[in-house]
Symmetry: C2
DNA sequence: AGTGATATTATGTCTGCACATAATCCGAGC
DNA sequence: GCTCGGATTATGTGCAGACATAATATCACT
């Protein structure tokens, strides 16, 4: 019996799929499974922990392990740098800096970044191109107080890439939504105003201070896709 | 030094953040770190493996472990059942079955499901309501060949929930996009045609056969959000 | 019946060791 | 200089045993 932890995970998953162990059911203990599969408990633990992380199992000390009742499936998506995203489609990436200036952000942006109204930020507007055609319109607020100085020329270096290269790993959140193109977006992306656009909004933080808030308005046809 | 694997992970992450170990740098071997932290190699392995899964580190046998150059950040999002999603907002969930019949799917759907053109499927159209207001328009193709019979009355049980409860854990893929509302969607959701809608498309498979393909057209204002 | 201390139990984590595996390094041979 | 193949090495995985932790179960006592 060649039982690596992945084999055990597969077997457990199989039993769940064929409803040997239906949703909500308590499955045998790690010790019992280790006995059955003829391996160490640690190996079973590895397999079950992995399934629990994927949302298939729910584990609690002493209570045991049960099959998740409502499988809140977890999809993981990669958030690549825009250049990589374009190149992964086999297209050539380029970008144009449309504007960059110091400015006081509108109140909703300031509040979303957790800043007092009136704080001065950098505003950078970029259009990314795939094979010369508009791909995504990037509007970004940067907090100069927490960035390494001096800021580079964002006409030469994409703000997107400069940040991941020069600002250390951070936390943040991402939101996806759909909005009709406003006048500026329609103009820049070359679509009719009101056209449905896929919007990504991301804010990034160090431990304490906000670093950047970016809004990406993707050209029509853009999809975010992932396997589950 | 009370060093559990989470402490080690935190310390490694700290060193990356303060650029002790800048992007691309090779970090010490597991053995060296184990010596430094005064713990077993397995414990260091656990910590580093976790960071690698998160996309912060890249590990290769013999080559060693290095800090990811371009941090392809991985966001994980939960895909709950629609009822849970509505209730999580503190709203009351209800749904209305708009139509359910046997039908031959259009070619794009059949091909996306990997079925020969002409296969007969079930077509179910549902409107989900949050506090009585349109929330999402669900159009779903079901493959009766692989479903437990008899199919229930989808006017009483939401197809969404019946599937997660009665069809075992499966694989599939999800795609998000933005589209203008077509006539039917505009009508059902009570918006103007062409309004930007957030679209979720999901296909689900057993090991071999397609189970269902569903398209969710969300009412304006819908967002998918996640922390990174 | 209710309540609180205690025993029990399943998972969580760690150790120390071993061998497997993959990738690089490096030298022999051409 | 080049290629091929073996030595080296860092990570991947496994095992047996141990203790920690959290949650449940039980039982004595009020």
């Amino acid at each position: 019996m060649i039982a690596g932890w992945e084999d055990i995970r597969a077997e457990v998953l199989r039993r769940i799929r064929v409803r040997d162990w239906p949703p909500g059911a308590l499955i045998p203990t790690e010790e019992a499974l280790a006995g059955e599969f003829g391996c160490a408990r640690a190996t079973v633990n590895r397999a079950l922990r992995d399934l629990a992380e994927a949302g298939v199992l729910e584990r609690r000390r002493k209570a045991g392990t049960r099959v998740a009742m409502l499988p809140v499936r977890k999809a993981t998506l990669d958030i690549p740098v825009i250049r990589q995203e374009v190149e992964a489609r086999g297209q050539a990436h380029a970008f144009r800096l449309l504007s960059a200036r110091e400015e006081v952000p509108p109140v909703p942006v300031a509040s979303r970044m957790g800043l007092a109204p009136g704080a001065r930020l950098w505003w950078v507007e970029t259009l990314h191109l795939a094979d010369g055609r508009p791909f995504v319109h990037e509007t970004r607020w940067l907090n100069p107080a927490v960035l390494p100085q001096p800021l580079p020329d964002f006409g030469k270096v994409s703000a997107n890439e400069w940040l991941v290269a020069h600002v250390s790993y951070t936390t943040g959140d991402i939101a996806f939504s759909a909005e009709g193109a406003d006048g500026r977006e329609a103009d820049v992306l070359g679509v009719a105003p009101g056209t449905a656009l896929f919007i990504t909004e991301r804010s990034t933080w160090t431990a304490e201070a906000p670093i950047t808030f970016v809004r990406l308005a993707h050209a029509p046809g853009y999809r975010v896709q992932t396997m589950v």
